[in-house]
């Protein structure tokens, strides 16, 4: 598991352009958002900022995970690894671990930018914000790993993003509060995992009470594990 994680991270470091994009783009987008709302007063930025801190790690890790595992399936290295004494769960957890490390750095940078430079206020502790982002990113990665099983080209994998990620963004409470959603959509948003990440971020930003935040994190972690298990089921040693 550690071997896989170390290898994935080494490959990431080699691909410095992707690495740079993963690290810098969320910070730049937060700055852009701050600029957009500058003349409208800080309230809007304070409301939307935390939501985006949950959405960005989820989205990036979904994309990175689905494309890299697809690549591994297509290049034959996955078949080779599965013909070796490599457990399927070991393989997936290795990937998960690597993406957790990446997302830890990514969210530390974007939280530092948002809170330090752009003046977003969090009532709760900042380390908790980063922990939420890591679990959230791991869940995004697990979803990406699972979805990559249904794509046979990188084009298809990228197209899964509007199909699987955008609905979650629309329903997570970013556009309107979830209470204002029509009953059916409210029900749908209750089963979408990103909802819980956004909810956790909102709560840490507005209150110091943490009980409900931990419950949210538990739900996200459960989704991540369930998706990893589904992903493991799609890694077949024997293929047609």
């Amino acid at each position: 598991m550690v071997a896989v994680a170390a290898r994935v991270l080494l490959q990431m470091v080699r691909d410095w352009r992707t690495l740079l994009l993963i690290m810098v783009v969320p910070c730049a987008l937060m700055a852009l958002l701050w600029w957009v709302y500058r003349d409208a007063g800080g309230a809007m930025f304070d409301r939307i900022g935390p939501d985006l801190l949950a959405i960005f790690p989820f989205m990036t890790m979904f994309l990175v995970a689905s494309v890299t595992t697809l690549h591994e399936r297509a290049s034959g290295t996955l078949e080779r690894l599965l013909a070796m004494p490599m457990g399927r769960l070991d393989f997936l957890l290795g990937y998960g671990l690597a993406f957790c490390v990446l997302s830890a750095v990514q969210s530390a940078l974007s939280v530092a930018t948002t809170v330090g430079l752009l003046g977003l206020d969090f009532s709760g502790p900042l380390p908790l914000v980063i922990v939420i982002a890591i679990i959230d990113a791991a869940m995004g990665a697990a979803l990406g790993l699972f979805v990559s099983a249904f794509a046979s080209t990188e084009f298809q994998a990228v197209q899964f993003m509007p199909a699987v990620v955008v609905p979650q963004i629309l329903l997570c409470g970013l556009l309107t509060s979830r209470d204002a959603l029509p009953g059916f959509l409210h029900g749908v948003s209750d089963v979408l995992p990103l909802t819980y990440a956004v909810d956790a971020m909102k709560r840490v930003s507005t209150s110091t009470a943490q009980g409900h935040v931990w419950l949210d994190m538990l739900v996200i972690a459960a989704y991540a594990l369930a998706l990893l298990a589904l992903g493991a089921a799609t890694l077949r040693r024997r293929t047609p």
Binding site: A3, A6, R7, L10, Q11, R14, D15, S75, G76, T77, E79, R80, L81, L82, A83, M84, P85, M86, R236, R237, R238, T239, P240
Partner: protein
Amino acid sequence: MAGVVEVRGLVVRRGRRAVLDGVDLDVGPGVTGLLGPSGCGKSTLMRSVVGVQRVHGGSVTVLGLPAGSKPLRHRVGYVTQAASVYDDLTVEENLAFFAQVLGVSADGVKDVVESVDLGSDRRTLVGRLSGGQRSRVSLAVALLGEPELLVLDEPTVGLDPVLRRDLWELFHRLADDGAALLVSSHVMDEAERCDRLLLMRDGEILAHDTPAAIKEAEGVDDVESAFLQIVESRP
């Protein structure tokens, strides 16, 4: 010595077409060449031996165990036609990673790099190597941990003649050290380099013997003519 690989009544279908339709064969020690035209089912047969092919009937036994079973994963080395290595890592990093998966020491990595003659390129990114060099990296991965059976799918394709000769010498050295090798090729002139041959066409094994015996049975001087004669004499 008992057969290293025993295949009985192996059936593999892709869609409605049977790629392999009841294949029986035994592979013993030494270098066995699996020869036949592209698309005749060589790769499917090799994948079945390694245990990564979904099969629809029959049995494949490797070193006395069902193909693909857990204890075999340390004992069988496999090279696919496409070089299954990471282009964005160096030769050494690739081997170090796979060695870690297999539980092979750093010395083992050094040995295989030497045996495929990539010592001077070991710090080069695999993506920057030529096709022949990349396939040697892939071969080096399969050699890690000194497997008892090596399944090599067209390992010499596109290589220059000198390198091809060197690789065949390596195969025979490995066989002398006790490994069994199953090597596929669609180039008939590689037949002479094998201890035994399996001639294959349309998912069927046409002949299985030493190169000399196959030529003698057909009364011809080269394996290619023997292949043609066997194909044409069939109903």
